[in-house]
């Protein structure tokens, strides 16, 4: 909710210009359509685009403290502002608004940089201390809200999205080859790196202070941490379940705080069903739910969604997403993600946010985070099995348990037992490394490197995925229990680097919708991380303690349901009768591929042929196709700007001859 941008003029340079701040913030209008505000003095400019959710009348930003020595712009919500305010007032602070924003400046007056420890929320904050002459940037603990920055010769610039930085003519626009190596391995860059050279991102749980000479100090104020020893549960399981339930209910209670209606996303799975059920049973909020349905049965979960809708009696809206809709909306998706991506899954979520807005909702609660917290994903089970195999590599019966995975995919890798065994045996020499769980995924993803141009390949010749990630992860992570290591890596790469941004914030914000994540309440994360592993992954049963905690709140079929991860149709969406849709043909044309230099033209052509014939059934080919297409879109939109911003506004996409109609429920 909201967009922020700003300029810190370094001592040698000119003061920030209002016109430039306006140019930056205008690019973020989709994040804040309800109004704009600017503060500037001879050193700093702060700009804010508002999405009004709390204190609709009074909460305009930029906002200040009593004597206007401290100014702030922020994107997000401070959910515990209601509890913080009386404490601050008792300490002598005077408020002039009813907004959650204002607690930030008073906490800073009271606690300095430690202000951030008192916040329970999602946020990207930029605070200007006029007395101490420092700009303080802070991002929430899991990276729900984005914050990018860059330096030029005479200034330091920051913004919620990179497109606002690119509004400044002195900011260079170039893809970073190292970034492509990271994205086509880990699914995202590793902060502070972004897809663009010279543009950096503040990491989740990080703060940075910049002075007027441009000296910057950063530190991590919070991180996930796990026990170092496996211990059995110290209390009865029911105790843990009760505590978890209470925390969940409280997280939802806090995150329902708004002066506008709040809805909930329903996937049909356990996590979002829990959120919906808590809203129904523990609050007065009228429960309105939103869900995606797909024509292809491989992706569709509508049966489970409707089961929950009946059970809870929600006012429900569903949006049917057809394969062709994805091709139509994909360029606009990349305009918002500002990075290459490897799946089309964000696109239907963007369309869903559009529908949410059409129903006059600005806020939705969603279920992201539960899988990372409670070991919901298959990757955690796979890692457990692979460690089990590693202890007796010659065993013939151990591999039989591989057959118990993957019930949900039509093209299941469980066929071809020996191949599956080989797949799972990958990387055994790394079994004590913290990234062990992720080796199979990264290996499959890195098959996309065969599409890199000779030039890009050469630039990455010394790049090693394990060396790179080891240098990036905290050294003490090796001491954590195995499941903890797996969870840490997953939360910091896939979740914070891709799911929360490309699938989460950017897709909802494309239509001025604020997504909220009760599972990412940091008290809940801290509780979950302390749990003994077997309360999370009991044998091969995922999210054991979570399911226990919500007994009675859901139909048993949903409570006991095995994880089906959210996926959307991939490469097939971009072809009609074997031919690529117009813009795809144009962007992946041999000449253009050769000219832009990222990919090998012949390899891309062959991949196109394979996708066109409907033969790209595996993850590897689909990831490569989507990755290549999205990279060429990033190149077109941000590097060349051959397709202007107006072409990608909410109104539509250029040069698509027929617009597939959407069927609304």
């Amino acid at each position: 909710m909201c967009g922020i941008a700003g300029i810190l003029g370094l001592t040698s340079g000119p003061p920030p210009q209002t016109s430039e701040l306006v140019a930056m913030i205008t690019r973020l209008r989709h994040r804040g359509p309800d109004g704009e505000g600017i503060y500037s003095d001879r050193r700093v400019g702060l700009a804010h685009a508002r999405l009004s959710i709390i204190d609709l009348e009074g909460g305009r930003q930029p906002l200040h403290n009593e004597d206007k020595s401290v100014w702030v712009v922020f994107n997000g919500e401070i959910f515990n502002y209601i509890e913080l305010r009386p404490l601050l007032e008792a300490q002598g602070h005077r408020f002039y608004t009813h907004s959650d924003t204002e607690v930030i400046v008073h906490l800073y007056e009271q606690y300095g940089d430690d202000f951030v420890q008192h916040l329970n929320g999602q946020f990207a904050i930029a605070l200007w201390d006029t007395r101490r002459r420092r700009l303080v940037l802070a991002r929430d603990r899991t990276g729900i809200r984005p914050l990018f920055y860059t330096r030029t010769a005479s200034r330091f610039l920051f913004a919620s999205e990179i497109k606002a930085l690119f509004a400044c003519p002195d900011v260079a626009r170039r893809l970073d080859p190292q970034a492509l190596g990271e994205i086509f391995t880990y699914w995202s860059t590793l902060a502070p790196r972004t897809a663009f050279a010279g543009i950096e991102s503040l990491a989740p749980g990080e703060m940075m202070a910049v002075d007027e000479h441009g000296d910057a100090r950063r530190h991590r104020y919070w991180d996930w941490s796990f026990p170092e020893h496996a211990t059995p549960p110290a209390r009865p399981v029911e105790d843990y379940a009760d505590e978890l339930r209470a925390l969940l209910v409280d997280a939802v209670r806090l995150q329902l705080r708004a002066d506008v209606p709040v809805g909930a996303y329903l996937s049909g799975g356990l996590d979002s069903s829990i959120i919906a059920s808590i809203i129904k049973n523990f609050s007065d909020t009228r429960l309105c739910t939103f869900a995606l349905t797909f024509d292809d049965a491989e992706f569709d979960e509508s049966a489970h969604q409707y089961e929950l809708v009946q059970y809870l009696g929600t006012h429900h809206t569903s949006l049917r997403c057809r394969s062709a809709d994805i091709a139509t909306a994909f360029p606009r998706t990349i305009w918002h993600t500002e990075t290459p991506i490897l799946r089309t899954a964000p696109t239907p979520l963007m369309l869903l946010a559009e529908r949410v807005r059409a129903e006059n909702y600005k806020v939705v609660l969603t279920g992201e985070g539960a899988d990372e917290l409670f070991a919901g994903y298959d990757i955690f089970k796979e890692a457990k099995i692979r460690r089990f195999l590693a202890r007796a590599p010659q065993s013939r019966w151990r591999p039989r348990i591989l057959e118990r995975l993957y019930p949900y995919l039509t093209h299941s890798p469980a066929n071809g037992r020996a191949f599956t065994h080989r797949f799972f045996s990958e990387g055994m020499e790394h079994r004590d490394q913290p990234y062990f769980a992720h080796i199979p995924r990264w290996t499959t993803t890195r098959r996309s490197w065969q599409f890199f141009s000779a030039d890009l390949t050469q630039q990455l010749v010394d790049w090693d995925p394990y060396r790179r990630i080891t240098a990036w992860l905290p050294p003490e992570l090796s001491r954590a229990i195995p499941l903890g290591r797996d969870q840490y890596v997953e939360a910091h790469t896939l979740m914070s680097g891709y799911l929360l941004c490309s699938q989460g914030d950017r897709m909802a914000m494309a239509h001025s919708v604020e997504a909220r994540y009760p599972y990412l309440d940091h008290r809940l994360i801290e509780f979950a991380n302390r749990l003994p592993a077997q309360l999370k992954l009991r044998g091969l049963v995922e999210k054991f303690i979570l399911k226990k905690a919500v007994h009675g709140l859901l139909p048993e079929t949903i409570r006991q349901r095995t994880k089906q991860p959210y996926r959307a149709p991939d490469s097939g969406s971009f072809f009609h009768n074997g031919r690529p849709v117009d813009y795809v043909a144009e962007l992946l044309d041999v000449k253009r591929i050769r000219e832009s230099g990222y990919f090998d033209p012949l390899a891309v052509t062959k991949l196109m042929e394979k996708c066109g014939r409907g033969r790209a059934i595996g993850f590897g080919d689909n990831m490569a196709f989507v990755g290549i297409l999205s990279t060429m879109l990033v190149d077109a939109m941000f590097i060349r700007e051959s397709l202007g911003a107006a072409d990608w506004s909410a109104a539509g996409t250029p040069r698509i001859p027929t617009r597939a109609s959407r069927v609304f429920n």
Partner: protein, 90 residues
Amino acid sequence: MTDTIKKRIREFVLSNYLFTNDPSALHDDESFMKRGIIDSTGVLEVIQFLNDEFGVTVTDEEMGPENLDSVISLAGFIQSKDAKTKALSA
């Protein structure tokens, strides 16, 4: 006869998994798994190819690396299936 089969297999693997026309990119006896040419889902593409190009169906028991993991093994597998079919219809 084997040479034609091998040629068609090579072309398929080069085009479908290596996305190249360069014959030196693949040796006849190279393990697909070891090369990382196919993963566990890629096996299904091979099976589809065998069905479409040669009319060969692969049973669950036959779905192993000894039959499917290199150009040589695939050629041998197709030959043996062909021989079996001929023997049955004799």
